[in-house]
Symmetry: C2
Subunit: 416 residues, 2 copies
């Protein structure tokens, strides 16, 4: 995915001048830009043109119909009423009462945080970016689940890290494989993991693996980056302690993107004091702070209705997950297997090895179903027989119809 | 300002464990973190303790009493009403109607932009950061005004750039000095300039210098980063064409921080297409997008009342500038000179060479006046006889009183 900096021809004189000089400016960009190739969204938009009414299983968002807009608007009005004096520069760490509430929200997960080690970020994407700023030199190694969250791999690559995928099974990252990687890769700076309701697989790492992971990280003196956007969205079973509850040295990334909405760009980091201080310092030179009105809006939401809102959403998402698991059993060929998530947004489908899910995406779209090909989630893009399905934004009857269409597509695939 | 990562002693067992392991984690942070020393705000807060009612000339913000809170709140309510469907991920470039309005707002400055080359950013701080991501490798050279904006130098240093200051006079950057620097520094990637109502000096670069600057940049194939937060705040005289109006290859940074409020974190970049595409791509891996509600709030403000609001603010700021210039003439010793800005927020004071404005800051604070020592703004911190004063947030009578106190302090300085 090398950057293509060649410009198209223009007729206008000004534009032509611009093109000429700009082509030379683009020759002096930094090496890190080589990662910015065509976006997957370009391909996706093409798929949408193939059917009048496709079922879209791609979203990693909460359902927009569940977003509590009216109550958020009221919280926002209160935030503006609080505003005199709060609209200057400031609050680099984040609005203090919001940080206190974040500590409260993490407690049911077993996390004993403290507000002075929390940094409010522009989504957990920025938390990831800042952790990279703190730790990564070009050529440093990041160990991560195989497959893992596409957005994270793009960030690590922007810091010119070398990504070393670690094998996973139905219980997440395999610890013997992690230990072998730590030994084989002395330049490892960081282990990146999504231990709970993983993206893309939906798997959850059991407690014993978590304990071993933080022990291995300590032994090898590498940072652990725990990305935890989905823990509050558990539909079954008991909480499994987050890594940061087992070891204060873990750098934890939380977000309101899944419990409120992605568009408000509000997440947080919890880190040990020395690392926290560097995260804050790096945040100052990135963009200073979050929007101060939205931090107060989220505060009023979190102290008011958010817990109830999340509890209500769980019922909807649980039913959708159940609808998807049921339909998969009904409509998919016996050669196909899938994960059984206890929470989060995703089910991971494994096809027979000879079926290429990326090639199949066009036929699926013609047949009215759009999914994310699994190979997008493999850092080395070396596996092609898997599919990520999200059920979070699709009503139950549409889920059933979408899986029916997927089953039909799969059955017609050569050799399925 | 090397990073001090040593932790203080803790008594609690957990904290001690954390401290030990964390000390070792902080040994593996990336080299770029070495820049994050103690913040100037620590020193400033100490100064505030020295007098019961100090006059504070440090702010780089609009006056909070001028921020149109009620109308912004109404704009925000409209934004929430527009919200259904807009709270997912998306709008990486920024809300399209806001980008159209930004194009409109730049037209009176002589800028013919286009919305498809605008990226909405989290303040112009993020624009600076993204431009660094696009261009800078460690060791690359950035040429900049001496003195210049402290926040910018911190960002360039976070990219491990080498900063080469270029001489300035009352008309801003001296072009012969710039040319000499371009020849002497073949690794120059970027010229950073604030040509209009410069921070910290208040100077404005005349048209002929601007034309020469963009010519020199083309000849040497280096990027020009034009930071322009103050152009809309002109109190006297005619618009001088921004650099980007003279050459489409300039990367222009605009912001609503001075015309609305810093706390909303909303600015923009305007760049040639090839560079714009890379700015957007780098934005995606930084934090995806601005808060989508606030982008709509700013849109409703910009299409509604913002032009009137800015016009009204000009009268207030003009009177404050005049009050400051008048008081400087009345109270400062004849050995002192200062700039005469046509707009923006700052006046730059030059003291006799033997007076150290940094040392004097404590006495000034005891005497009830707080300023930013000029040496903070010299990239090499090699000049000590200057002071930045901001008049934007201080009522006229307090400006006069503050300058009277400053004059008293200066007269009592040894050898003033």
């Amino acid at each position: 995915m090398a950057t293509n900096v060649t410009e198209t021809t223009n007729t206008n004189q000004d534009r032509t001048e611009e093109t000429t000089a700009m082509a030379s400016l683009t020759t002096c960009v930094a090496g890190r830009n080589v990662i910015h190739g065509p976006s997957i969204w370009t391909d996706l938009l093409e798929l949408f043109k193939r059917h009048p009414d496709p079922v879209y299983f791609g979203d990693g968002s909460p359902d927009k119909d569940l977003i509590p807009l009216e109550r958020l608007k009221e919280a926002s009005i209160r935030a503006w009423d609080d505003a005199p004096g709060c609209l200057g520069y400031g609050e680099q760490q984040g609005f203090a009462p919001l940080r206190d509430l974040i500590v409260e929200r993490m407690r049911p997960l077993g996390i004993e945080g403290s507000a002075d080690r929390i940094l409010v970020t522009s989504g957990s994407t920025q938390g990831l970016d800042l952790a990279c700023r703190v730790f990564l030199e070009p050529g440093d190694v990041v160990l991560l689940e195989n497959p893992t969250f596409l957005g994270a791999t793009e960030i690590f690559r922007a810091y010119e890290a070398r990504l070393v995928p670690v094998d996973t099974d139905a219980d997440g990252m395999v610890m013997d494989a992690l230990e072998a990687a730590l030994i084989a890769e002395p330049r490892t700076k960081m282990i990146y993991t999504i231990p709970t309701f993983q993206n893309p697989t939906g798997s959850t790492m059991p407690l014993e693996r978590r304990q071993r992971l933080v022990e291995l990280a300590r032994q090898h003196n590498v940072a652990v980056l725990e990305d935890d956007p989905y823990s509050e969205l558990r539909y079954d079973g008991d909480v499994v302690a987050p890594l940061v509850a087992l070891d204060h040295n873990v750098i934890y990334l939380g977000t309101f993107s899944k419990t409120i909405a992605p568009g408000i760009r509000c997440g947080w980091t919890l880190a040990p004091a020395g690392i926290h201080r560097l995260l804050v310092a790096n945040r100052e030179v990135s963009d200073i702070s979050n929007d101060r009105i939205m931090m107060r809006t989220v505060y009023h939401a979190a102290e008011g209705f958010l817990t109830d809102h999340v509890a209500g959403s769980l019922d909807v998402y649980r039913s959708r997950r159940d609808a998807m698991l049921g339909a998969l059993g009904e409509y998919l060929p016996e050669t196909v297997t899938w994960s059984h998530p206890d929470g989060g947004f995703f089910v991971w489908i494994t096809l027979p090895e000879h079926i290429n899910a990326t090639d199949l995406a066009n036929q699926a779209a013609d047949n009215g179903v759009i999914y994310f090909p699994g190979h997008w989630f493999y850092p080395n893009a070396d596996e092609f027989n898997s599919i990520r399905l999200s059920y979070s934004t699709v009503p139950e009857d549409r889920i059933v119809e979408g899986i029916r269409r997927l089953g039909e597509t799969l059955r017609s695939a050569p050799g399925a």
